[in-house]
Amino acid sequence: MTVIEQTAGVEPREKSRAWGKLKKSRSALAGLAIILFFTVLAVAAPLLPIPDPVATSWSAIRKAPSAAHWLGTDDLGRDILSRMIWGAQASLMAGIFSVVIAVVIGVPFGMLAGYFGGWVDLVISRITEALLAMPFLIMAIALAAFLGPSLTNAMIAIGLTAMPIFVRLTRGQVLAVKQEDYVEGARSVGLGHVDIMVRYILPNVTAPIIVQATLTVATAIIAEASLSFLGLGQQPPAASWGSMLNVAKNFLSQAPWMAMWPGAAIFLVVIGFNLLGDGLRDALDPREH
């Protein structure tokens, strides 16, 4: 019976195990690095020696990248590098916070619908379907218009619009996991609904939710762009990648760099979240080595 001592500390091992696995995954670290890079840029924007992002210059309209303007200038002669860095704030926040809103509201409702079934499911599912029936952008625009034009409201609107996807996804996953014997086993040892949902169901439905969340970050960044275009998101002249892209599409042949940089940035951030999400999913799964 000398082995009993070794078993103390079961709890901490799980967390360190997940971290250890995440650290070992090169792609996850690359994803993390990308996200950190943009986050640091966004936070440090006021401190960096870059031109004013809203200063227009009639002598430097749509100039290609040069020593003076590393990434070129836009249709009003504003420095794109500077706008990119300042715009990172709005875009990252739009991407992250709207997804957080969508997950925080959507997942619990999906869990309730899937777990309890019956009329709870009926009500939640019908509302979800009604929301999903409306096109994503129209819905977001309607909500944002209703809430009033500001970046915060845009994020809330996007979050609420993306929420039904998570309800649906979570509900489906819960329905599958609920069939497993270990859920009935948990009932038979006398665990309550909350325990079962938190300890038995939630950990087993997270994988597809994480993947969906990382993909939704991209959708949210683009959606914020559309809202800004309509004056419902980031208020001009302040920049966001999405709004930059939106303007750039009118000058695609004359000034391709205007679209290139924000496009590349969105692409990188989405890749970053995807890599991190995949790594996180594997790290949290004890079955993966």
Binding site: A8, G185, R187, S188, V189
Partner: protein
């Protein structure tokens, strides 16, 4: 047999690509099958028996697997054929039937179309010819009203009938070789008997060779002329089935055979008996001594009276209730401390529902349940949680009964903590103790379920069930999914635990041979009702109810001497317990055969 073999396999070695390079899962396996002959490959999970059959059909993913050796079908080397030529062999010269009749038919096509497709593709028949031939095939596998069922879909057939359809499809092209991969494992025992008889009958008529893959020694004894015993990728012994059973040379063969529960082996014994412990290295069996114990006759710990559980069947636009599944109908029994009562019966007989109703995992419709001082049906939510300390459950599938995201230590300690039976430190200590108690090192506490084998997981599930010090354990098919040798070990563990902890077991199983070994009393269930209940010896040695007799006759006995025995082809199906709304079940009378041995009297 002097003629050339239909299938000749020489030095078959199959390897799979893994992260660490090629890993062989089948090594140097050689055998021949002549026409009209049945060869069985028997082994436990992971022995490579299915991979052998998939290698013959070349159904393994080409990039991830490597097949070496020689596979000759009527002299032609299958490994040298192009993929296109191989497609002409599969389903034509060689046919295959699989374990799962529920998933191996395409649900969106009629069964007639699925069978005639084989004929139009491989035999070049016209549509009308194929239809006529298909109906003839369905008749040959004894599907009643074959012509009218041609246009029906798979979901309209029961499991046994679907397996017949699969066989009809496999035989449609008149193959020279039929590969049957665990074709009866998913079926009920009476249906299994029918299918085995059918395969034998058809083989006599067609003279085809049969390669039969199974883990069940009873089935082997019944069907095979010759047998290959496989162990972890190696064919450890090959020979006529008689020799394998009576003069097995390899220790593993002997170990495997002595671990097989054999119906009728308990004759003359009144009490449960452990399985002999066999050393797989030497093959020497040690009959356990002092395994028997009697039940002290005190007050029952569990009393069930007139339990009824029904599920509404809804249909139509407004999902109105149109009927009910009478899953459990008027079931009564007692269970004492230290006693094992087995509920046996085939799928849909209500045995599992009975167990779940008693635990109120399913709400019973009527009846009374007294458990350890609790009036189970009257309990509120809080009292129900307290009651769960008295009764615990062990499930069938060890791969789905543990939360994959929870370490084993957490899983075992959790119930103890939830019921506030002690501190976290005490819970850990208890978990460590329990793991040791079920035969696992306590150091494994921080591991996760996927790191364990099926048998080990079932031990973990048992440890978890024990963490609340329950008095009654409902074991729902708890050993059914395990390999023979593991099954024997887990049964022995359950008997040990019963002895030391004075546990009462409600042992739910379809496996008559295991039930015979472990029970004090047995209740046979059919269509939701107990048709016969009594002391094990009385029920097994003097079965009274026709269904009990039928059930016992259907069990394959691991004795090759019984190979000639045919049960007489029948295609009776299990009846459905779905009744129309307002159905009143008849009032049943029971007749006492001997002390405590009650039999339902047939309808007057």
């Amino acid at each position: 047999m002097t003629q050339d073999p239909v299938l000749s396999v020489r030095n078959l070695t199959t390897a799979f690509r893994t992260d660490e390079g090629w890993r062989s899962v089948v090594r140097n396996v050689s055998f021949d099958i002549a026409s009209g002959e049945t060869l069985a490959i028997v082994g436990e999970s992971g022995s490579g028996k299915s991979v052998t059959s998939l290698s013959i059909m070349r159904l393994l993913a080409p990039g991830a697997s490597r097949i070496e050796g020689e596979i000759r079908l009527n002299g032609r080397d299958l490994l040298g054929l192009s993929e296109k030529a191989m497609r002409g062999v599969r389903g034509n010269e060689v046919s295959m039937i699989f374990q799962e009749p529920m998933t191996s038919l395409n649900p969106i096509f009629t069964i007639g179309r699925q069978i005639s497709e084989v004929l139009t593709r491989h035999k070049g028949l016209s549509k009308t010819e194929a239809r006529a031939e298909t109906i003839r095939m369905l008749e040959r596998v004894r599907i009643p009203n074959a012509a009218s069922r041609f246009d029906e879909y798979p979901h309209q057939f029961s499991g046994g009938m679907r397996q017949r359809v699969m066989i009809a499809m496999a035989l449609a092209s008149r193959p020279k070789l039929l590969i049957a991969d665990e074709p009866t494992t998913a079926l009920d025992v009476t249906i299994q008997g029918q299918i085995l008889d059918l395969i034998k009958e058809l083989q006599d008529e067609e003279g085809m060779a049969v390669l039969f893959i199974t883990h069940d020694m009873g089935v082997v004894a019944e069907i095979a002329d010759r047998t290959v015993v496989m162990l972890r990728g190696d064919a450890v012994e090959t020979g006529p089935t008689e020799d394998i059973f009576h003069r097995g040379r390899h220790p593993y063969t002997r170990a495997l055979l002595s671990a097989v529960p054999k119906l009728g082996s308990m004759e003359g014994k009144a009490l449960p008996l452990r399985f002999p412990v066999v050393d797989t290295a030497t093959g020497i069996a040690l009959e356990p001594v002092g395994a028997e114990r009697s039940v002290v006759q005190h007050q029952p710990i569990l009393e069930v009276r007139n339990l009824v559980t029904r599920f509404p069947v809804r249909s139509g636009l407004f999902s109105r209730q149109t009927g009910a599944v009478h899953a459990v109908e008027n079931v009564s029994f007692d269970l004492r401390q230290g006693e094992t009562l087995s509920l046996v019966g085939e799928s849909g007989c209500g045995k599992s529902t009975t167990g779940r109703s008693i635990m109120r995992l399913i709400e019973p419709t009527e009846g009374e349940i007294q458990l350890d001082g609790f009036n189970v049906r009257e309990l509120g939510a809080l009292e129900l949680q307290r009651m769960r300390k008295s009764i615990q459950m062990i499930f069938q599938d060890p791969f789905s009964s543990l939360n994959p995201r929870m370490s084993v230590g957490q899983a075992v300690a959790e119930p103890f903590l939830k019921h506030r039976m002690g501190t976290a430190a005490e819970a850990r200590e208890k978990a460590a103790y329990l793991l040791e108690r079920v035969g696992l090192p306590a150091a494994m506490m921080s591991r996760y379920p996927h790191e364990f084998s099926g048998g080990q997981r079932q031990r973990i599930a048992i440890a978890r069930a024990l963490s609340l010090d329950p008095k009654v354990i409902v074991a729902d098919e708890s050993v059914s999914a395990l390999d023979v040798s593991i099954k024997a070990q887990v049964c022995n563990l359950l008997l040990d635990l019963q002895e030391s902890l004075d546990l009462a077991f409600l042992f739910i199983s379809h496996d008559m041979a295991v039930v015979e070994r472990v029970s004090h009393r047995v209740a046979v269930m059919y269509l939701g009702e107990i048709v016969e209940i009594g002391p094990r010896a009385a029920v097994f040695e003097n079965p009274q109810h026709p269904y009990t007799k039928k059930l016992m006759a259907a069990v394959p006995v691991p004795d090759p001497a019984r190979r000639g025995i045919r049960r007489g082809i029948s295609n009776e199906e299990l009846k459905s317990p779905v009744r129309p709304l307002g159905y009143r079940p008849p009032v049943r009378q029971y007749r006492e055969v001997s002390v405590g041995h009650l039999v339902q009297v047939a309808d007057a």
